[in-house]
Structure formats: C-alpha cells, structure tokens
C-alpha cells in the first residue's frame, strides 16, 4: 500500500474504518456501563482508539489510521454494597469506569464523521464517473 499513490477512496475509506473502530469501542464501553466487579483490577475501564494521520508524500493526501487502542478515563469507583454477591470481604464492589454521557457524545460524533466521509466518497464517485463520460 505504501508504494502505490493514495487515492481519494482510500482516504475516505480508511477514515470510515477508523470511525467504525471508534464506534465499536463506544459500543463496548456502553455495554459494560453499570457493571460491577470484586476487585479494582477486574472492573472494566473505558477503551479509546488513538487516531494517527498517515501522510502520502506523492499525492499530498492524508488519511487516518487507528494506531492503537488504549484504556482511558477515570478509575473504577468503590461502592459499599455488602448484599452484592460480587462484594469482597469488606463488602465493597468496584463499578466499571464508564462515563455514559461522554460515550454517547463520542458515538454521535463518530456517526457524523462517518456520514461526512460517505458523502465525500459519493461526490468523488459522481465526479469521476462524469469525467469518464466526458465527450459522450
């Protein structure tokens, strides 16, 4: 991929994949919201993708890649709940560290960005097809 020049479909396509990864992490985070665990280590922590620009020198275009996925955000909170079957010997449980409103905002943003890239791809496709039909 690195030796061939990048085109506009790769730019938009990879950005869509990156937003999809982000959407998947958001889904994982939201699915684990409200869960508890016996120890702080076992509790779920929010995961986030790290986006990195990939610049193509030949065409001056830049697309985006997901460099890695990291755990981010706050630590699991300790709550006293002795009735919970998951409680430790002191009667505490650890709540999964998921900020639901932040995840929802993230979800909306990645959905919007995904749509923008689809739009870019559609416009580019139409223009390229019109160029092929030139003179007919």
């Amino acid at each position: 991929m690195a030796d061939t020049p990048m085109n506009i479909f790769q730019v938009a396509g990879r950005a869509m994949s990156a937003q999809l990864v982000r959407m998947n992490t958001t889904a994982s985070n939201l699915a684990n919201a409200g869960g508890v665990a016996t120890t702080a280590d076992a509790a779920y922590r929010s995961i986030k993708p790290v986006f990195r620009t990939q610049f193509d020198q030949a065409t001056q275009m830049s697309t985006v890649n997901v460099e890695k996925i990291v755990t981010a955000g706050e630590e699991p909170t300790k709550r006293y709940d002795p009735g919970n079957p998951l409680a430790d010997k002191d009667g505490n449980v650890f709540e999964n560290a998921v900020d639901e409103s932040r995840e929802l905002v993230d979800m909306l943003e990645s959905a919007r960005n995904y749509q923008n890239n689809v739009e870019v791809m559609q416009t580019a496709k139409t223009l390229i097809l019109d160029t092929i039909k030139l003179g007919r």
């Binding site: 065409t59 001056q60 923008n116 890239n117």
Partner: protein, 115 residues
Amino acid sequence: MAENDLFGVHGTALAVRSQRMALLASNIANASTPGFKAKDIDFAAALKGAESGRLDASVTANTKFRLPTQMSMDGNTVELATEQTAFAENAVAYQTTLSFLNGRIGTITRALKGE
C-alpha cells in the same frame, strides 16, 4: 503544464480542482485526529502558476494551512462547516469545468463532422 490550445485553461483547471478535492477529502477524513492541521489550495494562484510552469510545483507552492476561526484544544484545525462548504463549492466548480470541456468537445466534433 503546457498551454493546451484545444481546451484552453479548462484542462489545467480540472487537474487543480481534482487535487483540491483530494486535499479537502483529507481534511474531512482527519476531522477527529488530534493535532491535524487542515490545508487548502489557493485555486486562483495555483491555476495561474500552473499555466506558466509545472502543475505539481504550482499546486505544492500554493497549498497553505487553514487559519481556524477558533482553535480546538487538541490542536486540530479542521472546522467541518468550512471544509464541507469548500468541498461542495469545489465539486460544483469541477462540474462546471466538465461542462465547459464537454461544450468544447461538442463544438469540435460538430466541426469535424461538418453538420
């Protein structure tokens, strides 16, 4: 790019429009990448330079960083409203250039057929 008598300025214009579309698509693709700096081509200047010199060199020389109206905290300078407007405008201009080219091809074809 050499002066093209058949298509006038429109051949070069189409090439510059195409490069600008790619650049604006890159900006939109990086709308949520921290630290990304949006770029744009000064179309008028790039076209002027391309008419007398090489297209690639002129486009590179006239590619500038976008000045954001308000910096975001992660250093990203992509403002989606700006980029989408520029992309739409560029797409319409591309279509216009295509129409000019089509008209020219039609004229030449009719002249050749002697209709």
